[in-house]
């Protein structure tokens, strides 16, 4: 577990699990991205699950950070799944024209881990 930033990053085997429970202000969002990437760098990681079920608001900046982090992780050989987005968050993002193309999503952690397993198996 990394203790640098305010958001704990858990490791299960070769998968990182991040559950965002507090509002992502700009500085926290930046710290989140840096922490996740350095955690990937430190040890071989194949998958990243980001749970955002605790967020009742996601602005375009946070959405961009989340999408970007996924793309950056991809460059480092890690597949990302975003799980637990709330309906009102999804509706707002789409209304703002921010569909987060290229980001894998799942309903909850369970479905997210299953999807990740599937994606990683396909990659091999």
């Amino acid at each position: 577990m990394s203790v640098h930033g305010p958001i704990p990053i858990l490791r299960i085997g070769s998968t990182l699990l991040v559950s965002i429970q507090l509002e992502l202000r700009d500085a926290v969002a930046d710290a989140f991205q840096a922490d996740v990437l350095s955690a990937i760098e430190k040890r071989g990681t194949t998958g990243l699950v980001v749970d955002i079920s605790g967020l009742d608001m996601v602005d375009t900046y946070v959405a961009r950070i989340l999408a970007e982090t996924g793309r950056m992780a991809k460059l480092m050989g890690t597949s990302t799944v975003l799980v637990g987005m709330r309906p009102e968050v999804a509706a707002t993002l789409v209304r703002m024209g921010y569909g987060m193309e290229g980001v894998r999503t799942a309903l909850d952690l369970d479905a997210g881990l299953a999807l990740l397993g599937h994606v990683i198996a396909q990659r091999k």
Binding site: L93, G99, L107, A111
Partner: protein, 306 residues
């Protein structure tokens, strides 16, 4: 609806009443004059009420509101109270509340404003005639009549406002009912939902559709939601855009949309308008859509052994 509810809807507080009073030119002198006319009013009240009901009972449209003698006796009594109320010398919250009670009652029995306004005309004429007969000085009679006219018009405005408020309230209730009926989400199978859309989709409804779809997907932990648009008469750029947005939002949740019920006409329109719906799975028939959706949750439809 209770008349107190109208007080709230029409935002009738002391300030609003003062503003209305000013507009209808009801001065303190008018109220004092009306109060001083009370003895005269008591004297003519029976004659005026009789003359008033002669009109109401003489016309087929208004006659039907008075089914029997007992009703007529009762309404005449109410009418006397109403008439004397004009000469109370008050024009405050209590007075308005009393007037709204009358307006709410007329709205409840379904007396249309036409007859209401016509009846008021008769009322004013009767008052004028009786004042002219009773008050010797023509100038004084004229002043007295104008004071009555002011408060009567004040009453008429309250009555019309009550009608409008009641109709708006009914409209709101109907819209709520339609809203509930407009997005019925059905559970087809474990983690597969179906939303059959029927009728035109405007942007207001499209927003409801999106909210309803997203909430249901999360609640049911659905993997897939089938949206059947066979019952949507016109699929234009706007409707397609709404559907695409919904599909994008559903994807953000981690589920997928299957669009079914695409008729030849709709397919032709979509292509001619250059609409790209490739982000959704699209099939023509609902049955194919169900099969596709079941496939997503690892199920399939097979024949029972022959």
């Amino acid at each position: 609806m209770d008349h107190r509810k109208y007080m709230t809807i029409l935002k009738l507080d002391d300030a609003a009443i003062a503003s209305r009073r000013a507009f209808f030119s009801i001065s303190d002198d008018d109220l004092a004059r009306l109060a001083s006319l009370r003895p005269l009013a008591e004297k003519v009240t029976d004659a005026i009420v009789e003359g008033f009901y002669a009109l109401l009972l003489g016309h087929p449209e208004t006659r039907k509101f008075f089914s029997d003698e007992a009703t007529i006796r009762r309404v005449k009594r109410t009418q006397r109270e109403y008439f004397m109320g004009l000469f109370s010398g008050r024009c405050d919250l209590a007075y308005v509340e009393d007037r709204l009670r009358v307006g709410a009652m007329h709205e409840r029995i379904g007396l249309a404003p036409t007859w209401y306004l016509g009846a008021y005309r008769q009322y004013l004429q009767l008052i004028r005639d009786h004042f002219d007969a009773e008050i010797k000085d023509p100038a004084q009679s004229r002043e007295a009549f104008f004071s009555v006219q002011r408060i009567v018009f004040f009453d008429v405005a309250l009555a019309i406002d009550t009608y409008i408020a009641a109709n708006l309230e009914a409209l709101g209730r109907h819209q709520a009912a339609i809203r509930e009926l407009s997005t019925p989400v059905i559970r087809v199978h474990d983690r597969v939902l179906l939303l059959p859309l029927i009728g035109a989709v405007d942007s207001h409804r499209a927003q409801q559709i999106m909210e309803s779809v997203l909430t249901h997907v999360v609640e049911a932990q659905a993997r897939c939601i089938i949206i059947d648009i066979a019952g949507v008469p016109v699929v234009d750029t706007r409707v397609a855009d709404h559907l695409l947005k919904t599909a994008a939002a559903v994807r953000l949740l981690g589920a997928e949309v299957v669009l079914t019920g695409i008729t030849a006409q709709v397919a032709r329109t979509m292509v001619q308008l250059g609409l790209d719906v490739s982000s959704m799975h699209t099939v023509s028939r609902l049955s194919d859509g169900i099969e596709l959706a079941l496939g997503m949750v690892g199920k399939s439809i097979t024949n029972k052994g022959s």
